[in-house]
Symmetry: C2
Subunit: 291 residues, 2 copies
């Protein structure tokens, strides 16, 4: 592709209009995808995965020596059935699990509510060398909290600036941030809810409250538009990934991560020892027997 | 195979003699593995992985409704270069990362040292529905701590009983435990250390202290033998997995997990709603437009 996916999917400057973004769209898909782009994209995933895995090892390795605090946070937001879990399974599943730190932010506990809204977020941040994944995030505090009037408007309105300050500090501290909204249509959500009701192995994913939330779709979309518009920055940009087609969603998120990792370009650290000296020590060591 | 791998690899009753277990052995490998068992075992891994993944989803699902606190902890111990990281990458990598909680226990921090040795272990336990992985564990407190005399003998000697009580409580609380010692030979360790010294992309895995530790091999084997013998129980058995051959190691650990998951037999929870009622609510809901 001529333009990078991170340019194509970045929220446009100014007021965000999510209705202008087609949830069934496939921006940036190359011509080589051909007439069966689904099969193509599914076959691409392990290839992209191998490169993600290789970058991750370098990120992890360079933190090991304490020389770098670089890390990467993938933040996922979506309406119910938007595909956050599926994206984690398929895309994040390509990484070495030992270097991944996934945190799902549900309804806040009493302890969490007793603190500032960013308290639990700070505690969930990835350490140096890690790939962090937020399944929902501090953005819920300007989304569900706003739609359900859980705090006064002046409280949630003040949060956009707080979030921007928080993320700016985070990026300055070496934590790169990729923020993704998985964008689905109401029709696709309805189909996915029906699928869950038709399949006993999916009942556990169904929550009858989802239908009530669904009725608030326009209010949520307004809240998303504001959050994305007010909290997009060059340091911590927002991407809207059309997500009605799961194969496109996975391909796109993998590519967004890959573009960021290439930009970070972590590298294996140099030896903090002399390999020849160590080899000599090892070879001349008295034979070790098995005890 | 006629006997389950969990029977074949379980430490024998009585005093454990690790020298009697061949690190290059491949116990339980079926005849069907044929003349190229490495290729066979590598091809088996994704098949075993698919079954692990399926069981994991049920384990995760049944915890979601709060009806079950069942979870599974894989505990890995080994000499340096024993393959803990490789096992996590290859075997644990087959699970859905969202249901995996991996904790690596390194040299204790000052805060950790200020508490009982099981304090940090408790904090690292998997939640309901999760697959927990311990990369090293509380056993270090009767291994490295004993070999280096970091506490008086009466202190570490008292820990075997404490560990047994802790693990018994854990299992009673719904956390199944699979304890694996990856058993390598001193010759294999030497080769792996040399490999790290020969490859700049592996320097970060090398620690010059590993050679000093290697000189203490017999003392470590004694400490392992005691730990495995004194802390093996039907509830929380110890398995010794011959680990000089990585392909056997991965195949064996995957099978041990699988046997335990089949035994636990987690199941999708029943609906806590009436699917027909919900379908009706959804279908009769006023059309939701995209806002």
């Amino acid at each position: 592709m001529t333009r990078r996916l991170s340019e194509l999917l970045r929220v446009p400057p100014g007021a965000v209009d999510l209705r202008a973004i087609d949830p069934r769209g496939t921006p940036g898909l190359p011509r080589s995808a051909g007439k069966d782009p689904k099969t193509w994209a599914r076959a691409q995933l392990p290839i992209l995965g191998a490169e993600l895995f290789a970058w991750q090892e370098k990120l992890f390795a360079q933190a090991k020596t304490g020389a770098s605090r670089q890390r990467l946070l993938l933040l996922l937001q979506a309406m119910d059935c938007g595909g956050k879990d599926g994206t984690i399974k398929k895309v994040v599943g390509e990484f070495n699990p030992q270097g991944v730190h996934i945190v799902a932010f549900g309804k806040p506990t009493e302890e969490e509510l007793a603190h500032d809204f960013l308290w639990r977020i700070e505690r969930g941040l990835p350490g140096a060398g890690m790939i962090g994944v937020f399944n929902r995030s501090h953005y819920e505090d300007v989304l569900v909290v706003r739609v359900h009037n859980l705090v006064p408007p002046r409280t949630w309105r003040a949060r956009y600036a707080k979030i921007n300050r928080f993320e700016r500090k985070l990026v300055a501290d070496g934590c790169a941030v990729v923020k993704v909204m998985l964008h689905i249509s109401p029709a696709e959500q309805k189909q996915r809810l029906l699928d869950r009701l038709d399949d006993p192995t999916k009942y556990w994913k169904y929550d009858s409250g989802d239908i009530d939330e669904r009725a608030l779709w326009p209010a949520y979309q307004d809240a998303y538009a504001d959050a994305l518009g007010k909290c997009d920055s060059d340091d911590a940009p927002w991407y809207v990934v059309p997500a009605d087609r799961k194969w496109y969603r996975d391909w796109a998120v993998a590519n967004l991560l890959l573009e960021k990792l290439r930009e970070l370009s972590p590298a294996y650290p140099p030896a903090d020892f002399d390999p020849d000296v160590e080899r000599g020590r090892l070879v001349t060591q008295p034979e070790v027997n098995s005890g």
